[in-house]
Symmetry: C2
Subunit: 427 residues, 2 copies
């Protein structure tokens, strides 16, 4: 297929007429499809139903460290849960602190804590005139929402194939004391699916921040969320690299089982240096008497260890893989060679990232909606919802069935084609 | 028995020698007893073991409003849980917002939110020079810890038989714009066990605060935690009274099932006006994608409705009642008429409050510890841990067995007698 840019105006107009007809047809079907959020499907949830059986009234509800999980106590999590989530985070058990049901909540808490208490004795951020965060883009809307909510200024950092543009990160972090953090999804990034290179991780570990309370917010949300057995990304473990580089306190790692067991009913943790954890735990000691230890026990008994979790994740992969492949198949077949968009081919995670011609993303999402397909709002992958090129669209294939995805993907490519033709005709 | 104050020095000295011998005997036993925290006993936890069976892999995990409780979504709680906790809070369903596993966490969050965001558009408390809270004393140490942690100045308010000294509350709230809140446990108060009179509740509802962001922090932790069927406290519902008085936004009510089902694995809620809940929900929408809906469903299916919860609470009462009665029996028998202490006789809740002669509480707690009995630290029931009279001691009878409590109570009264004699001898 010839690139659209090389087509004559007449050819574009006739193509447009033909595509509009197809679009009206599909619109007439009154479909309701959703590719907007990284939500597991029912089939994926079913994989964890055993969690509902693993504890019952005849179970021993005492953890291996002798704690009756039904009662008050144990602020930092039962030791079996600490071990499991430390393994998942690839850190020693002394570097893990168990929280509640959501790693997003841990991130929010961590920013909220820095605002009112400061980090490890530094000035509370709410007392400073200016606090800035670096935001690799495109990125995760809920990260940006937290920093915006607390009035933190966000600076876009281009996300390259190897991770964030580290020249820019190094410069800003070392020169500006107001830069207090950076949001990172280092593996199967949301939404591009790329994973940070070893060099990027090492450069992160070697940062020389102007602010002593600068922290890397390392959201390893997709650490074991591979799509393939034989092709997978591996990233360097950052806390260890930070220790080696003499920066042990520079990173907060966030993890949860939300997309392993049940979203909203999983367990979450913060992995960091002991000094950082002491600081976090002091806050926690005022915040709660303890998190849900029965749910911790439930997870420990169900997964047993990382091998159990890896086996479980292969079942997720078996369900997710055909969905990603279906989307890519339609994108390749329908848009390949047209030069009106590019897309990523992740080996894991929950998203495919699509880049349209500049200035088309909002129109494409609106067009798709006309035919009953809900996509993540254009701009959502950028701070303040402002994609400067208006080109990035996040595709979330997990929730619909493969059959629904085929229909959805076809609506999407039709929308891309129609909006791109308009753009070229009006150029 | 003659009051100690009327005994001669010689009599006191011979009594002291005799009691010291008894004390050495019990000390020699090397006991380990704990009456320090309001922790349910194993027998109480067993009452809720059915919660572990109520959901299993063959259960319908969809709530009555059609939500798959295993997946993301539903920020404010499934409607069945909202209904149950609204009933428990005695408010309409529109006035309830479900949180996670701990009402203490809801209170912490509420203060943290006021610090960084303000309440319903008011200036964030962290931007103010001075924020003050009124603290009825004696009260709950974890309340005071939250306000101290955020640098809020705490003002002691005497807790009378009818509730806080409302003359003082009215004066301070109406005159001082820096007064932003008051901590209340209106029913079976921690630690005195008293419940607020109707007049007190009405005076609360009719407060005319100088600060428009003044809120009553109404921790109804023991709302259904009666000890007797035929003798029980009933308090007026405050939100309704506030609505009637034209102050609908003035109250935050906190509730949880921590001492109904499992501490740490229960569900908690905030009850307040719709305007307040909108404000809280906006914060929550950045904080989390949602709380644990499976645990909400578990509670709803287990208790069904308030009748189910009331029946369940009677079983708790059957376990707790003999414990309270055992403590009171020993106190009455051993200290009655001695005029070296007074104590409360609550009809519910988790505590008995003991007041020694002035200046004796710390010494009594230390003395008891010598014999292996851990009490709540003296002073803990006051802001900053400072009991101005050094006289209040909180007794928590729930966790030990009745047999252990008999031993513990005897150590306690021995400690009270010995310290009191020393006090009188040195007067």
């Amino acid at each position: 297929m010839k690139p659209y840019t090389q087509l004559s105006k007449e050819k574009l107009l006739s193509l447009k007429a033909e595509l509009e007809k197809q679009f009206e047809d599909v619109k007439g079907k009154g479909l309701k499809l959703d590719m907007s959020r990284g939500k597991p499907s029912k089939a994926q949830l079913d994989l964890s139903n055993g969690l509902m059986d693993i504890l019952n009234s005849t179970s021993d509800l005492v953890s291996s460290d002798g704690v009756d999980c039904r009662n008050y106590g144990v602020l930092d999590g039962i030791s079996d849960a600490r071990k499991l989530l430390a393994d998942m985070s690839e850190v020693p058990e002394r570097n893990i602190l168990i929280y509640g049901n959501s790693s997003l909540n841990v991130m929010f808490d961590t920013v909220a804590r820095a605002m009112t208490q400061g980090i490890m004795g530094s000035t509370p951020w709410s007392k400073l005139d200016k606090v800035k965060f670096l935001c690799p883009v495109p990125g995760y809307d809920r990260h940006f929402a937290i920093t915006e909510f607390f009035g933190i200024e966000m600076i876009n950092i281009p996300l390259l194939e190897t991770g964030p543009d580290m020249d820019m990160v190094e410069k800003l972090v070392s020169e500006d004391e107001a830069v207090k953090g950076i949001w990172c999804v280092p593996k199967y990034a949301n939404p591009t699916g790329i994973s940070y290179s070893d060099e990027t991780v090492r450069r992160f570990a070697k940062l020389k921040p102007a602010a002593k309370d600068f922290r890397i917010f390392w959201d390893n949300a997709y650490s074991i969320h591979h799509l393939y057995d034989d092709k997978r990304d591996v990233i360097l473990e950052l806390l260890n690299e930070c220790v080696k580089a003499g920066n042990p306190d520079m990173v907060f790692k966030f993890i949860s089982t939300s997309k392993v067991s049940f979203p909203g009913s999983g367990i979450a943790a913060l992995a960091a240096s002991e000094a950082n954890l002491e600081d976090a735990k002091r806050y926690m000691s005022y915040q709660t008497i303890g998190h849900d230890k029965l749910n911790q026990l439930r997870h420990v008994r169900f997964f047993k260890d990382m091998q159990g979790m890896y086996n479980h994740m292969r079942k997720h992969a078996d369900i997710l893989r055909p969905k990603f492949e279906k989307i890519l198949e339609v994108l390749d077949r329908e848009l390949g060679g047209l030069e009106i968009g590019t897309w990523t081919r992740p080996l894991g995670g929950y998203f495919i990232s699509f880049d349209s011609m500049d200035g088309c993303a909002k129109a494409i999402v609106a067009k798709a909606k006309e035919a009953g397909l809900v996509m993540t709002g254009a701009g959502a992958t950028y701070p303040y919802g402002k994609d400067p090129k208006d080109s990035n669209i996040r595709i979330a294939p997990s929730f619909p069935t493969v059959e629904e995805l085929e229909v959805a993907a076809n609506i999407f490519v039709l929308s891309v084609k129609l909006v791109s033709i308009d753009k070229l005709l009006n150029a």
